[in-house]
């Protein structure tokens, strides 16, 4: 079908629920398959729209390669991806859910470290005394790199992490971390504290559009309200 529109929505949790109700409230009622684990959906009375439920990270990727026309995912995931990918995706609008901050966190007991300036000094200290680098565990290497370098921290090394990053400082895998947090509870419960000026990115869920299709999609986007 020539005017087929493919929309990617998060496949799990609160992000999925909120994304579905965003479309519901905009007059597009999403119908999910009766089979509980099926990944496809449709919209009531709109046979030209196809819904696919995907991992939030995957949505950004698939917008980039043209599989998806429209998608709901996090700003953090878009900004973390490479320039090539970012250049192919427009942020149509920010949505009022999925708020979370990407932050720099250090162990509570590092009471002498309150700001990035402190961190920079400690990083040099570690370098000077032990000839090793401050290790920063993160799921967001690109955003972390850009942020730390712009703040004058140079003496560090990134440790890629896939999950439970909060444990890294206490099992000897890194000294500090950067991670995404919405309430701060997980950080707190794991004896970590956000630096006073340690906000890397204020993230939120966004409606993304594949740049190539933007013109074709305009009527549909206008009808979302």
């Amino acid at each position: 079908m020539k005017d087929l529109i493919t929309i990617g929505l998060p496949s799990k949790g609160r992000l999925k629920e909120k994304a579905i109700s965003f479309f519901d409230n905009s007059g597009f009622k999403i119908i999910q398959s009766k089979k509980e684990r099926n990944y496809f959906g449709t919209i009531e009375n709109k046979s030209n729209i196809k819904i696919i439920f995907l991992h939030a990270k995957e949505i950004v990727q698939r917008l980039g390669d043209g599989t998806l026309d429209v998608g709901v995912s996090g700003l953090d995931l878009l900004n973390e991806s490479g320039k090539n990918l970012r250049d192919k995706i427009n942020i149509e609008c920010k949505l009022d859910f999925g708020n979370a901050n990407l932050v720099v966190a250090v162990p509570d007991d590092w009471i002498d470290v309150q700001t990035i300036a402190d961190l920079e000094e400690v990083a040099f200290d570690i370098r000077f005394k032990r000839n090793t680098r401050l290790r920063v565990a993160t799921k967001y290497p690109n955003l972390t790199n850009n942020f730390l370098i712009s703040k004058g921290v140079t003496q560090y090394k990134l440790i890629p992490s896939l999950g439970a990053t909060e444990t890294y400082p206490f099992i000897g895998s890194s000294e500090i971390i950067t991670d995404i947090t919405s309430t701060g509870k997980t950080l707190e419960d794991n004896n970590l504290r956000v630096l006073k000026d340690g906000l890397i990115l204020k993230s939120t869920a966004c409606l993304f559009v594949a740049k190539k299709k933007a013109a074709k999609l305009q009527p549909f986007l206008n009808s979302l309200d």
Binding site: P107, W110, I149, G152, T154
Partner: protein, 345 residues
Amino acid sequence: MKSKKLSETIIKIFKSNGFELSEPDVMLDSEYIIERSGEKFRSSMLTFEREDGKTMCLRPDLTVASCINFLQKKTSSKIYYSGQAYRRSNIKNSNFINDQLGIEILGSKNQIQDDFKVISTILSSAKKIKSKKIQIKVGDISLFKNLINALDMPERWKLRLIRHFWRPSYFKELLKRLEKNTDIDAVTFDTDKKRFYEMKKMDQDKVVAGRSISEILKRFNKKIKDPRSFSDGKQIVKIIKSFLKINCKLSELDEKLLDFAKKNDLKRNIFKDFKSIQNLKKLKQDINFIANFGRDIEYYTGIVFEVFSGKQEIARGGRYDDLLKSLGAKKNIPAVGAAINLKNI
């Protein structure tokens, strides 16, 4: 002259000045380089994973590769290199491969003599291959350090300014903050002070994320005692800025510095270590001193210079006393070196 022949001519001069060939490995341990030189190099390195899981990279730079070679005791201390370095860049259509040709004195025992040796060798190469008028620009990072250490401001500010001298845009930001007297870590310590007393009773050798309790408390204590603000930020920034404006013929430098010290009520002898630069008068060459110079490479610690033919930069180099230690040497190994810019000849 064709480029190959040019290189040969230059190498001949290197050899006749006592430099021996160093042939560093093409493939290096990528983690080792990042561990030593920092995360920002990762994106510019060409890496791949070996079967055993180790990440290797093609040598990104011949100075670093030669230093590693030297530390593995494969070369003497006075070396030259001629070969390719491999680097990725953000610039479109830029070449991965850079031909590099240069000299280094690693483990330089006599600073004045070795600085002179490197510059004079480069100069004679330049003269051999270029007919246009040769000019040298020099700077000296240690002069800047001398100035900062002579100024009256909190220790952590001194260290900050010295650490970031080589990053002009961030340095500017620091000066702005210093000028306004808004320190970046002006925070209240009340809650932390309570924790401080609790932690004082703990086992001081206990380690939290790589740092011992005693180390944390020591720094905390020092931080409280270091003055939060000080009155003369504006004046200090003015002095630093006016120092960075110094740009004069080498023959006028003594007078300029003396004048500068006098004008700003500084002691006359704060710039004590610039014999290396003064010594260059012996070259009988057109030399300009520029205080705001050599600020794009982190590892320089002393004299820095560029050689021009007409308007073209054809060589650059400088002293880097800390690099070998940061590459894993057990003690300080001072070094000085320079490279010919083959693209411009």
